[in-house]
């Protein structure tokens, strides 16, 4: 930990978090600190607990109550402790943008309205229930859509967009939210390589320009290495690696995951066209 990090309030602080589903342990005493402005990848094979961890940080799931001290704080405000959500969870959630694997947009509403829902956390009830969003928020929504490159779809139904466009609309929603932290749960797992690249590119730009903390769950290590300076690796609910992404060489991965390492690094060896795609993109 650097000197500066010690005096800063961590953006995300997880302390000895446990989560048990029926019989199996999904999270087994996870503790981590993430500083404001970091872009961190959370990697692991299916069922390693990375999505579960992210959902706990947003307060969309609660940890085990039996273990003492399992707690999460975001920007110094409690999210949950000992299996109970904080009472002001909604106010804190409004500061956290969440991007889902399946986009979680409301398909029948226009993209614009979907993006405007990012403002719900700070609007008075009469405005949100009547749908009379202030001009400032509507300007912000259009600006956010322009920034992620899909402003021409603003008044289309969200369900008519492609997967990649929907995911960028979901990111625009976090921009309207003025989220200080973006948690992205497998944002590219349902997308084709080109859309994946654009979504990761967008998240990296937001991180660089707005100093927004970004934590992104990934299945493929090559994306983590390309876009995130720091990687946290999970295996069976425990952190097995936390450090610079550059250290995650194929041999290091094999040491951590054994046979599972193939699953995490498959796209690199598996898809030749993908390599050329990203190579061209980087070159261009």
């Amino acid at each position: 930990m650097t000197k500066a990090a010690k005096v800063m309030v961590p953006a995300i602080k997880v302390t000895r978090l446990h989560k048990t589903f029926n019989c199996c342990k999904a999270l087994d005493g996870v503790s981590l600190d993430i500083n404001p402005g970091e872009m961190v990848a959370l990697i692991g094979a299916s069922g390693s607990g990375k999505s579960t961890l992210l959902r706990h940080v947003a307060g969309l799931a609660v940890g085990d109550s039996s273990t003492q001290g399992g707690s999460i704080e975001v920007m110094g405000r409690p999210i949950q402790a000992c299996g109970r959500l904080a009472t002001d969870i909604r106010a804190t959630r409004a500061r956290i943008g969440f991007v889902f694997q399946q986009f979680n947009l409301v398909g029948r509403l226009p993209v614009m309205t979907n993006v405007l829902t990012g403002a719900l956390g700070r609007l008075p009830l009469w405005r949100s229930l009547t749908g009379l969003f202030p001009l400032e928020d509507r300007e912000r929504a259009l600006e956010a859509l322009t920034r992620v490159g899909i402003h021409e779809t603003a008044w289309q139904r969200a369900s008519t967009l492609s997967g990649g466009q929907q995911q960028r609309a979901a990111i625009a929603r976090t921009l309207v939210q003025r989220a200080e932290i973006i948690l992205a749960d497998e944002p590219i797992a349902s997308l084709d390589p080109e859309s994946s690249r654009r979504v990761m590119e967008t998240l990296a730009t937001i991180n660089a320009e707005d100093k927004t903390t970004v934590v992104v769950c990934l299945h493929q290590v090559d994306f983590a290495i390309r876009y995130c300076p720091r990687t946290i690796a999970l295996k069976k609910g425990q952190i097995v690696f936390d450090g610079p992404s550059a250290e995650l060489t194929p041999s290091a991965l094999r040491d951590l995951y054994g046979a599972e390492a193939d699953e995490l690094s498959a796209p690199i060896q598996g898809s030749a066209s993908f390599i050329t795609d990203t190579a061209l993109a980087v070159a261009g």
Partner: protein, 264 residues
């Protein structure tokens, strides 16, 4: 050897045939058991055939002499159906949401469901008789009767639609820091809207039919007219009123089913 296996497979396993046989047995036993209670006398249709012929002949030709009056009352019947349905929709939205498992906890949705059950269990005719006593003879009693009964039905249909939604968009809204009401307005309502509209139109159709009978107990509309002329043995006039009802209900059914198709 092979042919022996094949012939065994040609008919279903004996267990299945036995269950099928038993099911038919139960159906016939039930019908036989109800025969005497319902006083089924098929012979009466033949022996009294001549009487029925005379009776039927009295209906024709229909007498449309008072058609303006009948049409006015038919329009009032429509008014009853419109207001009965409109009030029911307004109340069924909150009640329907409170009945849904994925919106309200069990200690709320169970009592609300029982309340809606009781609204639904009692026929609108019974409610009409009660409301005639409470607010007096006339269409308003009919409106209230349809309103209470339809609220029970729509709340159940609405809540079933809510329980079948995709939870992920709702979670997306929740993640922005929205409260429960905002989750409902932005996450749930847009998803259930087509079904809710379709159910409401369907209930409006049924309410036009029901509104023609609530009048029989004095709750206004064409039913009152029908009841009076049947009791007075004016069969030619009865026939005219019945034709007007059939025409109106058919038109409403056709228009409403066209509208419903737009929303599904």
């Amino acid at each position: 050897m092979n042919t022996a296996i094949d012939t065994a497979r040609l008919s279903p396993p004996p267990r299945q045939s036995l269950v099928k046989l038993l099911a038919w047995g139960v159906i016939f036993a039930t019908l036989a058991w109800s025969w005497s209670g319902a006083e089924i006398r098929p012979m009466a249709l033949i022996t009294d055939g001549a009487n029925m012929g005379t009776f039927l002949a009295d209906f024709f030709p229909p007498n449309f002499h008072d058609w303006r009056y009948y049409l006015e009352e038919m329009v009032i019947t429509l008014h009853i159906a419109i207001w009965g349905t409109a009030l029911a929709i307004v109340c069924a939205i909150p009640f329907g949401l409170l009945c849904a498992e994925n919106v309200a906890p069990a200690w709320i949705n169970q009592p609300v469901r029982r309340l809606m059950d009781s609204c639904r269990a009692i026929n609108e005719m019974v409610f009409a008789m009660l409301f005639v006593v409470a607010v007096g003879l006339g269409p308003f009693a009919g409106v209230l009767a349809l309103f209470v009964h339809t609220t029970g039905i729509l709340a159940k249909l609405f809540s079933e639609a809510v329980e079948a939604i995709d939870p992920r968009p709702v979670e997306g809204i929740r993640a922005t820091g929205a409260n429960l009401l905002e989750e409902i307005v932005y996450g749930i309502i847009p998803q259930v809207m087509p079904l809710w509209i379709s159910y409401s139109l369907y209930r409006f159709e049924s309410n036009v039919r029901s509104a023609t009978v609530v009048g029989m107990v004095g709750a206004g509309g064409i039913g009152v007219v029908l009841w009076e002329i049947i009791r007075g043995f004016y069969f030619a006039e009865t026939c005219a009123v019945m034709l007007i009802i059939i025409a109106t209900v058919s038109i409403i059914d056709i228009v409403s089913s066209r509208l419903r198709k737009l929303f599904i």
